[in-house]
Subunit: 298 residues, 2 copies
């Protein structure tokens, strides 16, 4: 048996009880929507309501704050009290609302995780108003756990896109890439969407080969992270290179280069601008993969 990993990545650790059995009971859900202790997280244009500083807090509204004709999505129960999320239109200036990607590290870990769940689930509802099978309109069911087509009656469940993200290593060096779409000097682990018909390990090998021409042998799972932009599951792995000629594909990656621990150690955790290159912040699973490799030592 392998020892378990103990990393807690950002956006993990949502403390709410998702109440899977209760949320299918429409009467119970309606009672929760009307209960005086129930609170509502109202996202506007997918921005998160926050207040305070160091740390920030989420702003939970009451039923009176929810715009009419909104869809109510149950996040879960906090000590028996219901918590819903609602997607609303943007307000001018976005006063009091923030991009979760920008402010996640300023929230307590459990609040960041709850906001992440709300954003992922609401994004799906907003983009699943029609049935992909027949084009008919869909309606929310099970307090947001699914949607049903009013035309062909197909059920649809929240979509999650699995992404493999891997630190490729070869003895004392690791492979980092700079994306064509990213800012200059930003290097990170390679990553890509898993495709139908492949395992996690096969997706890791294919993506590394496509992006850098490096052949990967052994792949080891490290940890995972929900990434709500809009709703990815980041599957973090360590991957052992069998070849070392690395050439960026020029399409996804602009550069792919091997780094020693001595080169990476002073840079990891430093802000953009401190060095000619910069690496992902601790909120990213890529950071945790690199840190695990640094900590293992030569």
């Amino acid at each position: 048996m392998l020892p378990p990993m103990t990393v807690q990545n950002m956006f993990a650790g949502d403390p709410l009880d998702r109440a899977a059995a209760l949320r299918r009971d429409d009467d119970w859900v309606r009672a929760q929507m009307a209960a005086p202790t129930t609170r509502f997280l109202i996202l506007r244009d997918m921005l998160i309501p926050v207040t305070g500083e160091n740390p920030l807090s989420l702003v939970w509204g009451t039923r009176d704050d929810v715009p009419e004709a909104s869809e109510f999505v149950l996040l879960g129960l906090e000590e028996g009290e219901a918590r819903f999320a609602v997607a609303a239109d943007a307000t001018p200036g976005h006063e009091g609302y923030a991009d979760l990607r920008m402010i996640a590290s300023q929230l307590p870990a459990d609040a960041a995780a709850t906001a992440s769940y709300a954003r992922a689930l609401l994004s799906w509802h907003v983009n699943a108003q029609f049935c992909p099978r027949c084009g008919g309109p869909t309606v929310l069911r099970a307090a947001g756990g699914s949607r049903r087509c009013q035309q062909c009656e197909a059920s649809h469940h929240p979509r999650i896109e699995p992404v493999v993200i891997m630190l490729v290593t070869n003895g004392t060096r690791c492979l980092l890439g700079s994306r064509t779409a990213g800012p200059e000097g930003r290097y990170s682990t390679l990553a890509g969407f898993l495709e139908p018909g492949e395992t996690i390990e096969e997706a890791v090998r294919r993506e590394v080969w496509e992006e850098s021409g490096v052949v990967v042998g052994d792949v080891r799972y490290h940890s995972s992270q929900p990434w709500p932009f809009p709703s990815n599951l980041m599957i973090g792995c360590m991957a052992e290179a069998l070849t070392t000629d690395a050439e960026a594909d020029g399409d996804e990656l602009a550069d792919a280069r091997w780094f020693t621990r001595a080169e990476v150690r002073p840079i990891l955790g430093q802000p953009q601008g401190a060095f000619p290159i910069f690496l992902p912040p601790p909120t990213a699973i890529a950071h945790q993969l690199i840190k695990t490799w640094l900590d293992a030592g030569d």
Copy 2:
């Protein structure tokens, strides 16, 4: 660093080169569709064309076999020759066509994997003819790597549903469940769909708790499996129970019970009917999880 797992699950090991860069080049794709060496796997009502026995083989057609107005989905290249998949309507009697779930273990492993990829990808295309965002009609792009909405121009990618499947153990015993929807006497590992906003480990703990009331601590990744019914990614884990009172939820599970290795060993791999209970066949990742635990010994 953890040692990698070496299990090769059924439906893993598709040998085709997916040619990610080339499949976005429409001229190249059209040339492949017309090339005399190109072959086509024509599924009818999602059944797979097979021939022979012990082992079965896939039946690859030529361009002339493809019904008019079909969509062509590139599976990849086999020694430089293109292989496409096509979804067609059922023929009366299904002569020469089989349900992949029933015949997978009679195919060579690489053919089963290719058929699995074809079935998963075609299922998605058949069920993604409309845009879930606006309801407009979609068209195939990138030789089947994506679809685009003709109304709002949104891009859509093949859907994969991640499922956690875990063997829960407590010292010398493992927890197996019998599903309300399954045949009498069939026991297997617990499993369920991963939800937005959770890690793999959190999904394992939530599912086990919901279905059996058992609290799980450590979770260790074992291996993964593409499961093309219609397009799941099975994420296999070993999970350590912190509590032992197991009670089936009565909804998904009819029974949840602890078994010793001495009880499981004679039953694993035996067909339905040989014992009062039967376990998943070697084609299922659940079988591999149980086998790993048996092999580890008390």
